[in-house]
């Protein structure tokens, strides 16, 4: 639904109400708000389910804390745009979107630069896990919609998308699992909530702060995606990557179980 900005214009000199919302400044306590501990590989419980979207070739839904992500996979279908690499490998197309109501502020319908960037990161993370050489001349579409964003949206989007791809019967080398982390000084918060992701520090010092997302192929032990920005020394950075990898391993069993259930529900065991 495109919005006609010309008609909904405020007075010439106007300010967004968001500027006047009181910023809650609270010094972060040792305990995290939901009772998880800092510096521990402590991910939120995950509920995952495949096959919700009947129209799609495959789909998955993930809920972790208040973060809710849904993903559907279409294809393989014939590519519209072709170049040399499409002749040998399939083309993977990822779209990452925040639903307009998913964040504290309403998101626009038009894909923002942030969403484009996250789509690219999603593509980079999923790409190594797929056997794209089995799908020459064709295209696989993955679209992820974040229904509610309470932190770590990209990480859960990666996990969700790989479940949906597996549900669609796309051949994969391995599942792809994602995990996020927020570094605060010497502590890290694994699988941060939205508040933890965005909170301003009590102190001015910007030493060792930053966010990170790691995507892992768990049984091959390969990192397929790494996205980190902040201000980190080498040592904490390396430790943070290791913590994320461990976090990914923790959600492996949930992902496996989700797929097993999906397979059994969809297909009765073959005869003979």
């Amino acid at each position: 639904m495109p919005v006609d900005t010309k008609r909904l214009r405020g007075p010439e000199e106007s300010q967004s109400p968001w500027l006047f919302v009181e910023q809650e400044q609270q010094s972060p306590p040792d305990e995290r708000e939901d009772g998880r501990r800092k510096g521990q590989v402590d991910v939120r419980p995950i509920f995952a389910r495949c096959g919700l979207v009947s129209q799609a070739k495959g789909s998955a839904y993930i809920e972790s804390g208040k973060t809710k992500v849904i993903c559907s996979v279409y294809g393989p279908r014939e590519t519209e745009r072709k170049d040399e690499t499409d002749m040998k490998f399939g083309r993977l197309v990822c779209t990452f979107r925040f639903a307009p109501f998913s964040c504290a502020k309403r998101c626009g319908w038009i894909q923002s630069t942030q969403e484009k960037d996250l789509s690219m990161a999603l593509l980079g993370s999923l790409h190594p896990g797929l056997c794209l050489h089995r799908y020459p001349r064709s295209q696989i579409d993955v679209s992820v919609l974040v229904l509610e964003n309470d932190g770590s949206a990209l990480a859960h989007a990666v996990t969700c998308a790989s479940l949906a791809l597996a549900d669609a019967g796309i051949e994969m080398y391995d599942l792809v699992l994602g995990c996020s982390l927020r570094q605060e000084g010497s502590d890290y918060l694994l699988d941060p909530t939205f508040a933890e992701e965005t909170q301003e520090p009590a102190t001015e010092s910007t030493e060792n702060r930053g966010g990170m997302m790691v995507a892992l192929l768990p049984s091959l032990n390969q990192v397929s995606g790494l996205l980190c920005s902040g201000d980190l020394e080498q040592q904490p950075l390396v430790e943070a990557v290791a913590a994320c990898i461990e976090g990914c391993q923790r959600i492996y069993s949930v992902a496996q179980r989700c797929l097993l259930t999906a397979v059994k529900k969809k297909n009765p065991p073959p005869d003979g």
Partner: protein
């Protein structure tokens, strides 16, 4: 990954009891029990199935460092086909997405023709319907096996015909799938006359309308019994 891991609860270490979570455990635990009843082993992509010394890799698997891994989520099937090693593959009831491959027999519908080639939409690969349309091209020289230079596309295909063809190449950047009908068993299987009635083949190159008895030219296929739909 073995079946025992299904018994693990969904609880990840040190989790506070949140309502959503409790429901999750309940739901999954009951499903896990049901799952365990089945004697079939289910695998997920990336799961190591066995060494290449024990089995041969079948469909839905790939080989890495001389081990066979699953590339699909589905049931693990081992089959002995009289050879030394059994073939291990991963099966899904809904067939894995088939793509037209070289030498595959495809069923297609003619969408447009000109003097050099006929354009078609591929509808079936073997007997599996495709979810999405794929476009293909039958060039003039690939229509018949003999007298290639005398072929006229207008006398072989008409838009709307259903054609059996074989994939000869995946084509290049500019072209679509290249198909051939240069075999006795390949060619037009269903065609309608100008009166709109399905025609019956009367020779290798002619079909006749049962109502008007008008004859039209086609590259007629001798349909093999196994391709006939019941």
């Amino acid at each position: 990954m073995t079946m025992t891991s299904l018994q693990e609860t969904d609880v990840l270490s040190s989790v506070q009891p949140i309502t959503v979570h409790v429901i999750t455990i309940g739901r999954l635990a009951s499903e896990a029990c049901a799952v365990n009843m089945s004697p079939w082993k289910v695998c997920v992509p990336g799961e190591r199935l066995c060494s290449t010394e024990v089995c041969k890799a079948g469909s839905g698997t790939y080989i890495r460092h001389s081990f066979i891994f699953a590339s699909l989520a589905g049931y693990v099937v081992k089959k002995n086909e009289g050879e030394e090693l059994p073939v291990i593959s991963v099966a899904r009831e809904t067939e894995a997405q088939l793509l037209p491959d070289v030498n595959a027999i495809v069923t297609c519908k003619v969408t447009s023709i000109n003097s050099r080639f006929a354009k078609v939409h591929i509808l079936y690969v073997g007997s599996t319907p495709l979810k999405n349309k794929f476009r293909g091209t039958i060039r003039k020289e690939d229509v018949r096996a003999t007298e290639k230079d005398k072929v006229e596309i207008y006398k072989c295909f008409r838009p709307g015909d259903i054609v059996l063809a074989k994939v000869i190449s995946l084509g290049d950047v500019q072209s679509n799938y290249l198909l051939t009908t240069a075999e006795n068993e390949l060619g037009v299987v269903v065609a309608h006359s100008e009166a709109g009635v399905q025609m019956v083949p009367i020779s290798w190159c002619e079909m006749q309308c049962p109502r008007t008895h008008a004859k039209e030219f086609r590259k007629v296929a001798r349909v093999q019994p196994e391709y006939l739909m019941p």
